[in-house]
Symmetry: C2
Subunit: 488 residues, 2 copies
């Protein structure tokens, strides 16, 4: 059979479509109270391309870093940088200086672009996206001819902020983001549509903004960016004011926003779906949103999975999937090795930046899972966070999910503490709603829900649960804080 | 940046998922009254693979032809042939012997497999899928290790039965079918889901069965195959008996089936969507199905477009799209050159088999179109079927769509006939419901709907509209039949 040249899956034709077919769609920066159409957005992106190349000498393959929250300027760079063949490197603005310096050095960034409001915290040498920048951009000619970019060219780079070890770089290619974006439009996946207006509350600097910067324009969905303020009041206001249909955030945001929405003075009748990842959501939270008419969907992914790999949708013959993390997306492959979930596929990283590729393309997720025959699975725990009690495993994640539904618990974490008899025993670290939460109350509440030997031995009350820069429970810090404890 | 090996988009992991994640889904052969689960189907496919390789010496790259209607055996070959690296060549069982001989020679088929009921009409040398075949298959070991196949390897071959010239071969690769299948799961495209049970009434030998053999298992949808009988009564019975949620056919089928469904003695409450392509549907037909609670969607595609490229879904700000062919799918590119639609993209053919590739990858569709700024378009006509009257174009397709809604017209075609004054003038060729349809009645009916100079000058009554082997109006034959006519 004659071989012919293969169509290249790059972001360029997606960009052309955004500017034309979806040209009347809106990009709304709710933080800066600006709204532009996709057609206007595209013209501005073309000018940014010219500035990057002509004024800053950006060349194909260069890493261009960003230091920004969810803003229109950030979204422009999500497009302009890969369109000129360079690599968008999103820096996490919540990391310590030292980590940032390590990452910038490791990535060999040739340019860092910082949001004006974040100029003071930006890494040295950053160019500020201020009025001077805006003047440059509006004075530049829109770029019409982009350099040729093959589909396997890197488009993005994001470092994972592991709770142990130095951050690791994850590269994503044009092709990976193209296929991921298409998968986000599937009915049984995220189900994005041209009729959606999407609010990614997840930071754009975290795990490629859960894919929204490319997936929304790919499907024609409109985008709302919330800026710096992710307080419950502001989230509720934006959901209502901008008629958001689809929003994405970690469970903490939804837990905090729930009482505000329940007051009923924000009209969220447009909101159909929320997509929730980062950690497991308690059943009670999911059900509370469904009572508000919102389809609360759990999802799962990592920076390494490009980022979205799973959503919990009803399956054939299984209507209630609330106790599951979900099903690995069609198009991806999965396997379980010694309890650990491993995945590979067209939008899964094939290795870390400047390291050896994964064996056979299989990404080791470090998540311990249980699978049903039909592929529904639940994450039992992060491999390193399982509590090993008397040779048996106790899932700290499951206990946390259950405990979050306790009426007196605002936030919580469960960790293993050294035990003379059992090696480890679970201890609940709790932020109370007010007053205190007793160990009796915890054991009584969890008693009917888990095996007796899973019940925590102690409760430690704290004012705040230590979290990582991306909002995950920082168990390393908690374990350090509890290192003085020893149980019988 | 380090280059790593790219994940290959082949049908193999899709097949693995069909067998496991969707293993309890059903494949129903309504013609032969057989139903198997996808898990059972997959085991059988693995045995067919062994038979193909061990008994018939099929090797990667070989063309293996089928001579069958929509049957379980045919669907098995849709999977087994590409899994062993060979190319599934679906022969059109309605072509004349001579055309079939040309195609088999041109494709250099190494094996032809014929459905038992079609043995007598099969090309010489065909192996019949009879009891001997079944015995072979059930006695074979299921193949567990498939030969390595790169994503750009051809998986399918189908000849287009043009109304002029010799048939042309269209090759589709693993990668093309993989991406096409994913696109069929998108909300704004076909929207297939695991919760669907799909009935492709379109023949599996025509235009890759509109993609269903791969798209349904990719998304987890179940499949119903109707066998040889696509009469209105049988279609209605299958829709009801098998709780079909999604069905695909040409407009003629839906027009014929409508009165049977309207009788109300078939429970089609499961049926949510029908996807209709091949020719334009009259608005009245679409609305009649919507009154039955069925979402009647027009689609567009060709064998060359892999096959589905367009669906008419509501757009942002445009609820009523019934007068449009639809919007080119996200992931594809389109342009209009001298009124002709051209498309390219990851599931569009890049050239005809054994011919030069298309210039720049752009497929010339020969369809004349009108585009709105937001990408909604309508097909005005096939380039060669436009009626050229006094230097202006008249769309025969549009007149046909309107005329089909005439209460006394069962079927119709419009062609241009030589005119001394105008070069060409439109003539309506009509199959009446009963009795006759007068030219006055046609002009009165169309009068409020089109420009006066579009109104046909004559009506010719016929018992049947000549159709091609895939059910399209054969205008070449009609023009020959009317060659004696000349208008003033």
């Amino acid at each position: 059979m004659s071989s012919t040249s293969t169509y290249q899956l790059t972001l360029h034709p997606v960009f052309d479509r955004l500017a034309t077919v979806y040209g009347d769609g809106l990009v709304i920066d709710a933080g800066e109270e600006v709204r532009v159409t996709y057609a206007e957005f595209a013209e501005r992106v073309r000018r940014v391309c010219t500035v990057l190349v002509d004024d800053f000498g950006v060349r194909p393959g260069d890493r261009v870093a960003t230091w920004s929250w969810n803003s229109l300027r950030h979204l422009e760079l999500y497009w302009a940088v890969p369109l000129v063949g360079a690599v968008l490197h999103t820096l996490n603005i919540r990391l310590h200086d030292e980590q940032v310096r390590y990452i910038v050095d490791h990535a060999e960034d040739s340019l860092i672009l910082a949001h004006a409001d974040l100029a003071s915290s930006a890494p040295g040498g950053a160019v500020v996206l201020d009025e001077v920048w805006d003047k440059r951009v509006s004075g530049a000619e829109p770029m019409r001819d982009f350099p040729p970019v093959p589909e396997d060219a890197p488009a993005g780079l994001c470092y994972t902020s592991g709770t142990t070890g130095m951050p690791k770089g994850v590269v994503t290619t044009h092709r990976q983001q193209w296929i991921h974006a298409m998968s986000c439009g599937m009915v049984d996946h995220m189900g994005l549509s041209e009729h959606d207006r999407v609010l990614p509350i997840v930071p754009l600097f975290h795990a490629f903004g859960w894919g929204i910067p490319y997936a929304a324009p790919f499907t024609g969905a409109e985008i709302v960016l919330h800026g710096a303020d992710s307080s419950a009041e502001n989230v509720a206001r934006i959901l209502a004011d901008h008629r958001v249909t689809y929003a994405l955030a970690v469970p903490t945001i939804w837990k905090e926003t729930l009482p505000v929405l329940r007051r009923g003075d924000h009209d969220i009748s447009a909101l159909r779906n929320v997509f929730v990842g980062g950690s497991a959501s308690p059943r009670s939270l999911i059900e509370a949103y469904r009572e508000l008419g919102v389809n609360y969907m759990q999802g799962w992914g990592m920076t390494e999975t490009g980022p979205v790999a799973t959503v919990a949708r009803p399956r054939r013959g299984v209507d209630d999937v609330l106790d599951y993390t979900g099903t690995i997306h069609a198009g991806l492959e999965s396997r379980v090795v010694d309890g650990e979930l491993q995945v590979r596929g067209p939008w899964i990283a094939t290795g870390y930046y400047k390291q050896e590729p994964f064996d056979g393309g299989w990404l080791p997720t470090r998540d311990m899972v249980q699978f049903e025959p039909n592929g529904l699975f639940r994450i039992v725990d992060r491999a390193k966070d399982l509590v090993k009690s008397g040779g048996e495993w106790i899932s700290s994640v499951e206990l946390e999910g259950l405990l979050l539904a306790h009426p007196d618990v605002r936030d919580c974490a469960v960790v293993g503490v050294r035990s003379r008899k059992w090696d480890e025993r679970p201890v609940a670290v709790v932020v109370p709603e007010d007053g205190e939460v007793s160990i009796q109350s915890v054991r009584t509440f969890l008693g009917p829900k888990v095996a007796k030997w899973w019940l925590p031995d102690e409760v430690v009350t704290v004012a705040e649960i230590p979290k990582t820069s991306v909002g995950k429970i920082d168990k390393k810090v908690i374990r350090d804080q509890l290192s003085h404890l020893e149980l019988p």
